[in-house]
Each structure stands twice: as C-alpha cells, then as structure tokens.
C-alpha cells in the first residue's frame, strides 16, 4: 500500500461487511473493485460491482436495519469507512451533505429498475 493511501486495503475475496450485521458505518471505494452479494435460499447472487468513488453500506445507516447484502473485495481493494454518528450529525447540520449519497442511491435504483424490466420481459 502506498504511504499516502487512505482507508484500509482488503485482499481478493476478503469480506468488508457481511449480510445481517448491524450497520454502524458506510463505505466509499478508494481503489479497486468490490462486489455486492446476497445469500439467498438458492445460493449466492452477485448484485453489482462497485468501483472507485462508489458508496455502499449507506442503506443500513438510514434504515437502522441489518445489512441487506455482503460486500467483498474483487482483487485488491481499498475502502474508506465513514462513521454513522459523525455523518448523520453533519447531515442534520447541513442536509446538502446527503445530496451526493442520494444521487448515488438514485443511480443504483435506476439501474435496478432497468434490471427488473429486463428480467420481467424475459418471463413467458
């Protein structure tokens, strides 16, 4: 790791956060890629692949519910943690801080909508 690299480095396949854990922070990818996976009854489903600048783990911050998916490094990845308390407190003082996160969440919902449409159109 370069001495100026911020965050924590995870090796290939190492889990950053696991499904079902309580969410006390969110994460921002600084380098490399991570994949979001959900453990279902029929095994593991890869939901998406996130890259530099992408945010994950923010849903648990706002809903207060356990993590809905696991995230693991795909190759070596560096990730920065953002603490829940400090972030929400600052959002309370300056709601515009949430704009960027909302934008990322909206983009993800849009991508999921497109995926749902694609899957439904395949069904007989």
């Amino acid at each position: 790791m370069r001495i100026g690299a911020l965050g924590k480095t995870y090796e290939d396949g190492q889990y950053i956060t696991k499904q079902g854990e309580s969410g006390q922070c969110m994460y921002i990818v600084q380098q490399g890629c991570v994949e979001v996976v959900v453990e279902g009854r029929e095994g593991e489903v890869v939901l998406s692949r996130l890259e530099i600048g992408d945010v994950f783990g923010e849903m648990a911050l706002f809903t207060g519910k356990p993590r809905s998916a696991s995230v693991r490094a795909q190759g070596s990845a560096r990730v920065l943690t953002v603490d829940k308390r400090g972030f929400l407190r600052r959002v309370h003082e300056d709601p515009s801080l949430a704009f960027h996160i909302l934008q990322r969440m909206s983009e993800r919902i849009q991508a999921l909508d497109e995926e749902v449409v694609r899957l439904r159109s395949r069904q007989p």
Binding site: I3, G4, A5, L6, T81, V82, R90, E93, F99, H100
Partner: protein, 448 residues
C-alpha cells in the same frame, strides 16, 4: 438579492476556502439548474515548490474531514496525501504513549499545501491546494492567475479590478484570502464594516530526512508534545513522504522558543542523532486566526475560511470546508444580502465561534497538565489502562485523540470529559498519583 441564471461570482483566493466555495457553488447551482459564472483570483502557482506555491500550514486533513469530503465525492488521492496517519504519540517528560485510531484504518491525511518545501524538485510532490483548484476548474470555475488590485462598488454591485484590466462587476464576491496576505485590506477598504480577525503567530518548519528515516523515526504517527515551555500551546511533528513538518502554536512563538523546542531531549529522540537543527529545508512564521472577523459579510460580500471564522488552533481546513459549504448553500438557496448571510451563513460561523470559546477553556486547562506532574501521571496511566478496552470505554484516549486530531468539536470533548466514566477513573488516578501509588510504572520510549 438572489443569484440567477448567468450571475457572476468572484472568489478572491484559491486556497481550500476559495476553491471549495467555488466547487460547492457550481455543484449546488447545477443541481437546481442554475448557470453560474465563477472566477477565482489566485496569483500563486501551486506547482512551484517553496514559498511561491505554498499557503503555509501544518498540512493535516482531520479524520472527520477526510470522511466528509469522501461523502461529498471528493476522495483524496495517494499522490496528494503524503502519508496516512494511523496514530498519535503523546510525549511528556515522564513517558511516551501511543494512541491508535479507533478503527484500524488510515483516515488522517498528512499533505503539503504547495508542491513541497524549498529545494524540492518541481513536480515531485502534488499540491493539496492545486488538487482542489483543479477540482473547482473541472466544475467550471475560471481561474485567473493574478493579484486583485482593488475591490470597489458600482451602484451597489461589487467590482474587482485585477492585473491592470478594466473592472468586472459581480453579483457576489467571496473573500478567501487567509490572514497572511494583504488581501484583507481590499475588503476593509470597501467601507462595509468588514474587519480582519485577531491572529496569533505559528511556526511551520520542514525537515528533510528521506522516506526511510521518516518511517524509522516517526512511522505513521503524529508526535505531539506536552511541554512546559512558556508561550507554547501545542507542538507536533507530522511525518510526510520525505519530510517531517514541525508545527508550533501559541502566543509566544519566536526563533528562540523554536530552538528550545527542537533541542529538547524529547524532540531529539524522534530525529536521527546526526540531524542538525540548521538543516531544515523551509521555515515560515505564518499567522492563524484565533478570533473570527466581525462582521464577516455585507451585501453581496462574504468572507470564508481563515479570513472569516476558523477553528481555534486545529482543523483550519475543516473550518474552510464548513464555511465554504455554508456560504454556497446560503447564496444559492437563500440569497446574497447581508440579512441572508446573517440569518443562514452566520449560524455556521457562530457555531464555530462558540466552540472556539470552549476550545480556549480546554487549552487553558492544558496549562495545569503541563505544570502539574501528578495530573500528567494520572492522564498517562488512564490512557495506558484503556488500551485493551473497547473503543467506547476509552474515555481519556478519546478526549486526547479528539483534542490532538481536531476531529471532533471542542464541545464534544468537554461533554465527554464530564461523563462519569471519565471523571471517576481520572479522579482515582489523580489520588493514586498524589499518594505516589504505582509511580514506578513502565516507561515506553519506543512508541512508534
């Protein structure tokens, strides 16, 4: 008085306060579908090493600011961050003690404001201020590499004259000139009652040790010194790539105090034995804001960052971010009149001002810790006892961590130090120290 499509904003100063104000103005305007024309006036060339491209600062981006910037979509690249800091080492006359970040992660950034100290080869170090200026430029700001000659009024609109060119009329002018330039005089001359803040002198000195020796002697830890030197409030050694930045704050900073500090055994123990105090690469005595400018706004004119209101002794870049954001949000959503700034922008400044009052109290308290040996002993023992506890049970470590890093408001530090889990063990350790119980404890001289 509101900004509309095509409104022009002039920002004087291209340090963090000026560039972040420009960045957030353009970003917020884009979100609400407003086209703004933002000009940044900055004569410095941040790609030049030494004083020509430097804004004179210790160069620490706090843990909380690293997270907030990342949440805003501004991720500091490793080419700009010269070293990620993962711990603090507190030096006292009795021992050294190391406090690691609560999460095992690099979340404090040590960086150079310019392209490195005097004598550093051009292009070797990427400037933090240059990085932010490029961000603002990418958002659409126009950067003018010239000094502003005059600010004047034209029928209620502020006008900037720069580089001998005809004046340009603006809908709003942002002053982000710091406290170490003559730029503040431009605003004082406007006749709007804007006044410069009160300042104190600091010393910033860069020492070139080379990457291997910086790693060997200081590691990834910022070294903080609790010394009983009159006039010295705070002193630290900040490791960066090939350099170590010495940062001294207080009311009596001068050359002789700097020599006494640098030649003290505690400081010498952090540097190679052959290091010569006269071999520092770059040295300056900049001023810092200790009491905010009042007022720091007028109709269509506002001061942000150090030349307005900042944080006492710590996290000046964090204060620049907060005031920049508050200024941009006020200007886009509320307006640019004096009343708009008073009703909305001033809230952020007032919060910083109140917090600084508590900070002053904390720094006054630190005098007792410097003077009274039993207090230092009790503090060190409490930190030592907490090392194996869960982060939420490390009361003294948290208070010290937040005091040194500038990550939390002074209010949080004061409140934390009034909690029973801080007061009771600390009182007990004070009694033990006064009675001399367990005074022969271990001394750690190899904290890094």
């Amino acid at each position: 008085m509101r900004l509309a499509d095509g409104s022009c904003v002039g920002v004087i100063g291209g340090g963090p306060a000026g560039t972040l104000t420009s960045y957030f103005l353009l970003e917020t305007a884009e979100r609400v579908g407003l086209a703004l024309d933002v000009d940044i006036y900055e004569p410095r060339d941040f790609s030049r090493p030494g004083p020509a491209g430097c804004n004179m600062c210790g160069g620490i981006v706090s843990e909380s600011l690293v997270q907030l910037l990342a949440a805003e979509g501004i991720n500091l690249p490793p080419s700009v961050v010269q070293r990620g800091i993962d711990s603090y080492v507190l030096h006292t006359d009795q021992r050294q003690i190391r406090m690691a970040t609560p999460v095992e992660e690099m979340r404090i950034a040590a960086l150079h404001r310019g392209s490195g100290p005097k004598g550093c080869p051009p292009g070797e170090i990427e400037s933090f201020d240059g990085f932010l200026l490029d961000l603002a430029r990418e958002k659409g700001a126009h950067v003018h590499a010239c000094r502003v000659d005059e600010i004047a009024w034209d029928n209620g609109w502020p006008v900037i004259r720069a580089d001998g060119m005809p004046g340009k009329r603006y809908d709003m002018i942002v002053g982000a000139v710091g406290v170490n330039s003559t730029g503040l005089k431009l605003f004082e001359g406007l006749g709007s009652g804007l006044r410069k803040p009160h300042t104190a002198k600091t010393l910033i000195c860069e020492i070139c040790l080379g990457r291997e020796q910086v790693q060997e002697y200081l590691g990834n830890a910022m070294h903080v010194f609790l010394m009983d030197l009159p006039g010295l409030e705070f002193a630290a050694l900040i490791p960066k790539g090939d350099y170590v930045t010495v940062c001294m704050l207080g009311v009596g900073i001068d050359q002789s105090l700097a020599e006494r500090f640098m030649n003290s055994p505690d400081v010498r123990s952090c540097l190679p034995i052959e290091w010569d105090a006269k071999s520092s690469a770059c040295r300056c005595l900049p001023r810092i804001n200790v009491t905010g400018a009042k007022p720091c706004f007028a109709d269509r004119v506002v001061l942000v960052g150090d030349c307005g209101v900042s944080r006492l002794y710590k996290d000046g870049i964090g204060a620049a971010y907060r005031t920049a954001k508050a200024c941009a949000v006020t200007a886009i959503f509320r307006g640019v009149s004096k009343d708009d700034f008073r009703a909305h922008y001033w809230k952020t400044c007032r919060r910083l001002e109140w917090d600084n009052r508590l900070g002053k109290g904390l720094f006054l308290m630190s005098v007792f810790f410097r003077k009274l040996r039993f207090l230092r002993r009790a503090m060190l023992r409490m930190i030592e006892n907490e090392q194996h506890a869960a982060p939420k049970h490390r009361a003294m470590s948290t208070v010290m961590w937040n005091t040194f890093t500038g990550s939390a408001p002074y209010r949080d530090i004061v409140l934390r130090s009034l909690m029973p889990d801080f007061v009771i063990p600390f009182s007990m350790e004070c009694v033990r120290a006064l009675l001399g119980v367990g005074n022969g404890g271990p001394t750690s001289r190899s904290a890094h």
